[in-house]
Amino acid sequence: MSILSVKNLSLSFGGLKVLSNVSFEVNQGEVFSIIGPNGAGKTSILNVISGFYSPDAGRVFFEGLDVTALSGDRRAALGLGRTFQNIALYRGMTVLDNIKLGAHSRLKTDLLSSLWYWGSAHREEMELRRQVEGEVIEFLEIESIRRQSVASLPYGLQKRVELGRALAMRPKVLLMDEPVAGMNAEETEDMARFILDINEERNVTIVLIEHDMKVIMDVSERVLVLNFGQKLVEGKPEEVQSHPAVIKAYLGEKRGG
């Protein structure tokens, strides 16, 4: 059953054609990966799905609903989460506040309640803290850095906090843009484990962009290969890995496994 689908997406910036007639479907509960050389348009696809870019043609469907005309914040409210290639954490806030911010669209406090605070805003904040502690902080093992400013964290932890922020939203679909980029072997393994746990235990559908082939092969159920904004191949990881067109375009000279 398809939870996210993209039909005939085309996108160009001025004369540069970024995406050409891309279509695919993501099934509920699966881990769907998008790979391709740099500049293939992978992040642009995520940006169109998130609502940051408006496509020239094509539609985006989320849970059967046509969201192509919806703004990014409305899509987030529907349960579409996101992590970014260049960490987009808020440097002026602590780890805890960054994570709490992820839950923004689930909360109800309005301007007047927040100015008064003692009452519904307080209750909501306490409940939020409880949820965030149980669902995110404990899960990602980041208790010790709760009150640190994110700007002072090492890269790997920042990426983890960003994942935490996306989790606080309790997303139905999580779009992840190169979550293990720049990480060492241990950090990569941790992140891969988190991704699998999120997918299996919380039933979150994951759409993953990555360059690390080992991670892709380990976690994905289906893989889509993009090149020059066009869909090249789509299928199971092993099928894609051995597909001649893919090897030629992207995976380089190495044949086989």
Binding site: T43, F52, F84, Q85, N86, A88
Partner: protein, 294 residues
């Protein structure tokens, strides 16, 4: 009808100066992404420097011009070296606030050094006004327009054909790409600030030649904002066109509404235009919406 034409002509004439100053502003914005809130103070300083060189020190107009150019180079250097270097990596709003601080510093300095009385330049141009049909154009306005036009043309030629001009356009378009092509980006910053300062300084000299040297010249700088919003913050052509339109709006408002509202109407009218533009076409006539990378 004559009155209408007279107002239009005066508007075009003063608009030429606005266009020049706006050009300098857009230059700085395009090359460094900085909104220079000290533009008005630059205008004022240009006039005072020219005044000091010609009236106080008794030199010829050429000396005044050279002093202005020299000062502009100084401004470029000081701004880039002392301030921008220290602010690398800080968010743009911080840097913009630095220019607000600089405007305050220059205001205070000018008043302290030169005092706040009205001064006048020695006459540079012939006195008798130019008369076309029934329209009268004062010579200092006419020649001011000419000078502004010449400087704008020089800038335009510089950008299109000179190697340095092309380098500046490259830096304005994409700093990283320009850097990797071997362009010294820091020099480009210095140069763009210096050129922007020249535009404002020359504009200041032209205006002061018409209405005297006084700290209130800085208020002209405020009028540049309606011009660049109308034209588009990053559009050079827009700055020129916007300058003329604002000059005309100002004169028409002053001519027709002064009796009903008050003398200050001509100064407020451009800002009403500004607010309307922000409402209906915020990127102006020719501005481009920036595409962000995520």
């Amino acid at each position: 009808m004559t009155e209408f034409l007279q107002l239009i002509v005066s508007g075009v004439a003063v608009g030429g100066v606005y266009a020049l100053i706006a050009l300098g502003f857009v230059l700085i914005f395009k090359a460094t992404s900085i909104i220079n809130f000290a533009t008005g103070e630059f205008i004022m300083i240009g006039a005072y420097v020219f005044y000091s060189a010609t009236v106080v020190m008794g030199g010829p107009a050429v000396l005044g011009l050279l002093s202005v150019l020299g000062f502009a180079a100084l401004v470029g250097l000081v701004t880039e070296r002392l301030i921008l270097r220290h602010m690398l990596g800080q968010p743009i709003i911080s840097i913009v606030m630095v220019t607000i601080g600089i405007s305050s510093i220059l205001n205070g300095l000018a008043d302290l050094i030169w005092g706040s009385d009205f001064r006048n330049f020695l006459p540079i141009f012939p006195r008798s006004p130019i008369i076309v049909g029934e329209i009268i154009i004062r010579t200092n306005i006419f020649y001011g327009f000419l000078v502004a036009g010449i400087v704008v043309s020089i800038f335009a030629l510089l950008f299109k054909y000179a190697k340095v001009g092309v380098a500046m356009r490259a830096t304005a378009g994409d700093q990283m790409a320009a850097f990797s092509m071997g362009i010294n980006v820091k020099s480009m910053f210095t140069l763009s600030w210096a050129l922007g300062a020249i535009a404002a300084f020359v504009g200041g000299v032209i205006i002061a030649n018409i209405s005297g040297v006084h700290p209130s010249l800085a208020h002209v700088g405020l009028k540049i904002f309606p011009v660049v919003i109308l034209g588009g913050l990053d559009s050079i052509g827009g700055a020129v066109l916007g300058g003329f339109i604002v000059g005309i709006v100002e004169n028409l408002a002053g001519g027709y509404l002064e009796n009903y509202l008050s003398g200050g109407v001509r100064d407020v009218a451009p800002f009403v235009v500004l607010m309307l533009i922000l409402l209906v076409r915020p990127y102006g006539l020719f501005g481009k919406e920036e595409i962000e990378r995520l």
